[in-house]
Symmetry: none
Subunit: 199 residues, 4 copies
DNA sequence: AATGAATGAGAATTCATTCAT
DNA sequence: AATGAATGAATTCTCATTCAT
């Protein structure tokens, strides 16, 4: 099955329509899960006709793949933005905290969406797509940690790119799902976990 | 909607049928994901009629809930079995390695099933069910780690019960999804991550 | 794509349902052509739910294939019935007239259905199915004409099975589409055409 | 519904566009049958926008009617060209062979297109159109056969115009669909069939 | 004139669920 | 208790047609 988008709208209304569809899809999954994710609901929420949705995405899975890509790109963007703000003279803990914050930004919210994307990444043939973003993210993280080779073990970029966000998510989820949620503690604990792992 | 099973047969043919249905459901999700999970397919694979499936489960979500419960129970069983084999005089690293092995047993396989259950746990009203197993697992882990209060920080049972398996899974996934997979390294790294986090 | 029927109901209600669906499909095409042939209309006219239709036929093309088979079987049945009534001592013209009558029975009516089936036979992968019926029909015709080897040329069964009904149809259509239609003449002319061709 | 073309451009770019559309329609049907014949596909293959297609044809059926007309005109042209080359002193068999060749030119190829047009002619209100071409063709054939009234029966032009091509097609198809196809034999057999019918 | 994005009715197909046997 | 045919609402997807640019 073809899973690539039908058109790659660079500009104007088409781009806006395409974005609205992806946004609507993300919203529906985040609110009600994969069970409520259907193309009619997406089109309606996006405020476009069902026909338009299929102009941009040849089928439902292609829409999901685009959503995965969007999510990956978003994470990479967040990571790059975080990296850009890090003081080159910062110490290891500060760097890690910045990374943790970047990762948390994407996981503290939308557990339903995050788990949905995890599942769909495992179901759909998106290895190349994921690999690409892992490479990008891994290189970035490796570069940020390169100054600290004396304090930490060797960093395998692909492994780091997978492990660190997942560690953060593991810890964050644990603290966020307590009653009451303890998000502040979550960040501290996540930093501890990452540092513990790296050393 | 009613999400509890219609019957909880403890023994005999009914129990076998019920198990066959859950086994079939798990198999289908593990093979093809949530998108392929439907009651007719489950009944067919289980070798029972669709009518029989609805004798045991009032609706599809109830079947999913039972699957979640089964998974949680399985994890707890594995953990308890692991705990039973641990030498009371073992050191921290040995205990952690035993816990890691128990956790890996459930996550190394069936990424599709594991992510599906994550998603459905977030979607369905199973907080009480999850809480129960977290309590059980948390108490067990806390007890196992009680001897090492001098080497590690304080252990919040519910948090530990959520975090440790998730940490293991994070690390395991990262190493398992390399090409080629490096499952042996995964275990060592997971132990490191857990120890790093606990200290 | 799978084009074989989902079930081959031998008996009872299922067989009746299956027949009703095929009958409805034939009726709709005969009345309004391929453009009006859709599964919802077929199910409605057959008096069954759309779900039931898909219990018996996995998709629309499979329904069409079943219709083709039904048509071929019907023609063969008609031919066999005609053959059974032929006096073994009959002369060539009498035999040919019986064959012509059998062929006309299927073509005088339902031009829309006949042309639709012609088209779909060319579109769908039904060569084996058609071949089977051509063999059967060809053998029957060859046997009927075997007594007249002195009056006619050699008869290639497959060719005869294709040619004779088509000849009949060609002539029949020509006379039937005059205004007013001249069906009586059609039969005489068709006999002439076939005899002319055989000699 | 209006089925006549919006414009009948005799020349220039518009005529070329119109031809390209009809050519594309014929190609799609010939390749994939009526099931794949849709206006968007036709426009794309013709290299024009869907809007332009609707400038020339008010709806899909009108496009089909134009295709039928094109086909009929093509056959008439072929027939006229064939007639023009016939030696006035030629004998019956030679004349018939020329007619057969003309008819075969249109039917040997594109079984899918030919059967599609047959079906659509039966579905759409094109009696007048068909009648016109039958008259033209019938007159031509009658004229060609007028010299041979002693060798053949009386020729009804409309009947002849319908019957002869259909006879040719019947015989041609039978021989062409053998494995391997025997196109050379087909022509001889078609001549025999036509002569047999005329006498 | 030409374009092609957008529309939405409608067609194909699925699947959760019921119920007569 | 078990069966599985039947249902039909819901879902995916198509395609004839329009219309703003």
């Amino acid at each position: 099955m073809v899973l690539s988008p039908r058109k790659l709208p660079k500009q104007g209304r088409a781009r806006a329509t395409c974005d609205a569809i992806l946004e609507a899809a993300a919203h529906i999954i985040a609110r009600s899960g994969l069970a409520a994710f259907n193309t009619n609901a997406v089109a309606e929420r996006a405020g476009v006709s069902i026909g338009s949705l299929y102009q941009y995405f040849p089928n439902k899975d292609a829409l999901m793949v685009a959503l995965i890509q969007r999510q990956q790109q978003g994470q990479l963007d967040t990571l790059m933005a975080a990296a850009a703000t890090i003081d080159p003279a910062a110490d290891l803990q500060t760097v890690v905290r910045a990374l943790v914050r970047a990762a948390m930004q994407h996981h503290r919210t939308d557990d339903l969406l995050a788990t949905a994307i995890d599942h769909e990444e495992a179901r759909l043939p998106v290895d190349d797509l994921i690999g690409h973003y892992l490479d990008q993210g891994g290189m970035l993280v490796a570069a940020l940690l390169a100054n600290f080779q004396d304090q930490i073990g060797p960093v395998e970029p692909q492994v780091a790119a997978r492990t660190l966000p997942a560690l953060v998510r593991a810890v964050t989820d644990a603290w966020a799902n307590l009653t009451p949620p303890q998000l502040d503690t979550a960040e501290d604990e996540a930093v501890k976990a990452v540092l513990g792992y790296l050393r």
